[in-house]
């Protein structure tokens, strides 16, 4: 096979895009120690560690996430890392984790597909005192007992910040359309609520004229946008709940002969193509959602095993990309 030679993009620099904990709020709240949790310590290097990924590693976020976990494990010399992938089927993820437990893992890192419905897993893990660190999405349960802690972004917050960018772009008034994520998905719900609440509170003159699901996929985003701009030519802004849909929207706008900036687009994730699109003037701003959980996850685990107190939730600080920083940040985007 011989593909096109890739667009030249600056290679990620050393610690580029490494997750940073929000300060001071990021680790606020109660903490948890080994004896509170009631487990016994062990050596991470020789331990069997399980990582349960929720979706196929087929979009930048999941690829970066799994990669960073694997890389970090390798870096720390953790030899027994078992990785499962639920292919977006929640029942399968439950089974996956149960089978990881059956294989005798001592530490579980889970990227949950859904926040609820973890009862069976939590019970089994608790019985064996296996600490669970959930990354990127929360599990609705008791930290430090049902599970150990959560590391990730605040999706509601991301929605709010996207709203701020949209308000600023439209000068506080206009018609906005939302490209929703997959229905029923926690991320969709929170990014939607965050956005809407903020708009209601900050810019009553902005009306949300249109919200349809683009299922987090580029093609769907394109198709929905084509219908949208056809029947609502007066739309001023589009809020896409992930970059893929935003870029789909861009293709649609190009196809309809629109110029960059005619319609203001704000999205969440911070993939390289999206940042590039900002540089090209098609996207107004992108709220990052950083998938590189490896270092923080294992760092937290190590702290915990060393008996130090660890926070019951670690909220990382996501940056924004916009015209001011897009070009220089390309290397750090994933």
């Amino acid at each position: 096979a011989k593909a096109e030679e890739p667009q030249s993009a600056p290679a990620p620099t050393g610690t580029a895009g490494r997750q940073v904990v929000q300060s001071p709020t990021g680790t606020a709240g109660p903490t948890c120690t080994l004896e509170q949790f009631g487990g016994t310590t062990f050596d991470l290097k020789t331990a069997t560690v399980g990582f349960s990924q929720s979706e196929k590693e087929a979009n930048p976020f999941r690829i970066a996430e799994t990669k960073s976990i694997k890389d970090e494990a390798a870096k720390l010399g953790i030899t027994h890392l078992k990785v499962t992938n639920a292919q977006s089927q929640f029942s399968k993820q439950i089974t996956d984790v149960q089978q990881l437990i059956a294989q005798g893992v001592q530490l579980l890192v889970i990227a949950p597909l859904n926040s609820d419905g973890w009862e069976p897993v939590l019970q089994q893990a608790a019985a064996k005192k296996i600490p669970i660190i959930t990354v990127d999405r929360k599990i609705n349960a008791k930290p430090c007992s049902d599970y150990l802690t959560f590391i990730g972004s605040d999706f509601y917050e991301q929605g709010k910040r996207a709203a701020d960018r949209m308000i600023e772009a439209l000068g506080g008034k206009g018609k906005v359309a939302i490209l929703l994520g997959a229905p029923g998905n926690n991320v969709t719900t929170e990014r939607t609520n965050g956005f809407k609440d903020r708009v209601k509170e900050k810019a009553p003159d902005i009306t949300i004229a249109f919200e349809q699901t683009g299922e987090f996929a580029r093609e769907k985003g394109q198709q929905v946008t084509e219908q949208l701009i056809q029947s609502n030519p007066d739309i001023n802004g589009i809020y896409a709940e992930n970059d893929e849909m935003a870029l789909g929207a861009v293709t649609a706008l190009k196809g309809a002969g629109k110029e960059p900036g005619d319609i203001k687009i704000v999205s969440v994730d911070g993939t390289r193509s999206a940042v590039q699109a900002i540089a090209d003037g098609w996207l107004h701003a992108v709220i990052e959602s950083n998938p590189r959980f490896g270092p923080l996850a294992f760092e937290t685990a190590q702290k915990f095993l060393d008996g130090e107190p660890i926070p019951d939730k670690v909220i990382i600080s996501d940056r924004d990309y916009d015209t001011t920083n897009a070009k220089d940040s390309l290397g750090e985007a994933y």
Binding site: I94, Q103, G184
Partner: protein, 317 residues
């Protein structure tokens, strides 16, 4: 025992054999495969699909197909979780009632208008998921199971297996008797084998069809409810593509999609096969998600071919 009987036996139990084979291979290949814990996780997680597959078996033997089961499974779960705030009984009856009614409607449409089951239940698949989204605020609301007794039904158990497993086993037994040893069962085979002839032989075709779809609906709802009890919440993102798994399991089990032949044992074996395949993939533990799909696709093809050849070889000699 003559060759038709042998071939039938094999065709219906080919899946069982392949299953046995796979388990042996798995145990030899991975020492953590044949462990009680792993076996339990396979059986427990398979039990819900198995319940659905039982209903699907009846439908397919009757010459039909039911694509709505995946959606009914989710709906059942959401309703059960919602109902659980009013106690165990509601938590069970609400989903059964609604899913039963959906099955009834589908059955009536299919039996009365002669529209293709595939398309009618495809509409069911869409409509029911829509209904589920409607009652869960577009999937944003996840009802939590309030009633401890109901939760226990999904999580409690004995001998390392949870109640749903035993319920499944019981249902499977009942289904076998129903299929092989009752007039209803005979009618199902008859209309699947030759609907027109069945009618002329005095089989109540329409009624039998309706029953079959009601049954499928009820079982899908029950599976959903039990699963909600297990997860102690009505998760809204479940069951996409579940109908295909169920159909695959039933067909791998030796039931003909053209209807008129097949059995419960095969279907259950088929479900376990799918479970074991997944478990084996997890045992490997470091395949990329894409590669996992390639493997399970290849496995699936391998299994159906093996099952097919087994029964073919018997027929010709």
């Amino acid at each position: 025992m003559n060759r038709e009987q042998v071939s039938r036996l094999i065709q219906q139990h080919g899946a069982v054999m392949v299953l046995a084979l796979l388990v042996v291979v798995g145990s030899l290949a991975f020492d953590s495969f044949a462990t009680a814990g792993n076996a339990a996780s396979v059986v427990v997680s398979s039990s819900f699909l198995a319940i659905i597959a039982i209903g699907m078996t009846f439908v397919i033997i009757s010459g039909g197909i039911d694509l709505s089961v995946g959606s009914l499974f989710v709906l059942g779960g959401v309703l059960a979780a919602y109902g659980s705030q009013y106690g165990l009984l509601v938590a069970l009856l609400l989903p059964l009632a609604v899913c039963g009614v959906v099955g009834l409607l589908q059955g009536l449409v299919i039996a009365r208008t002669g529209m293709a089951p595939f398309i009618v239940t495809l509409a069911g698949l869409l409509g029911v998921r829509g209904l589920m989204l409607a009652i869960s605020d577009e999937g944003a609301t996840t009802y939590l199971v309030e009633d401890p007794a109901f939760a226990a039904l999904g999580q409690g158990g004995i001998l390392g297996l949870t109640w749903p497993v035993y319920i499944t086993a019981l249902l499977a037994l009942l289904a076998m008797v129903l299929l092989q040893r009752t007039g209803f069962g005979q009618n199902v085979y008859a209309i699947g084998g030759n609907e027109q002839a069945a009618a002329l032989m005095g089989v109540p075709v329409a009624r039998t069809k309706v029953y079959v779809y009601v049954m499928s609906g009820l079982l899908a709802g029950l599976a959903g409810a039990l699963n909600a009890a297990r997860l102690s919440s009505g998760v809204t993102i479940l069951g996409i593509g579940l109908e295909l798994d169920a159909i695959a399991a039933v067909v791998i089990g030796g039931t003909l999609l053209t209807g008129g032949a097949g059995g419960i044992t095969g279907s259950v074996a088929g479900v376990l096969l799918l479970g074991v395949i997944q478990s084996l993939i997890n045992q490997v533990g470091n395949l990329t998600s894409a590669f996992q799909q390639v493997v399970s696709g290849a496995f699936l093809a391998l299994v159906v071919v093996a099952q097919r050849l087994l029964s073919k070889a018997q027929r010709l000699t």
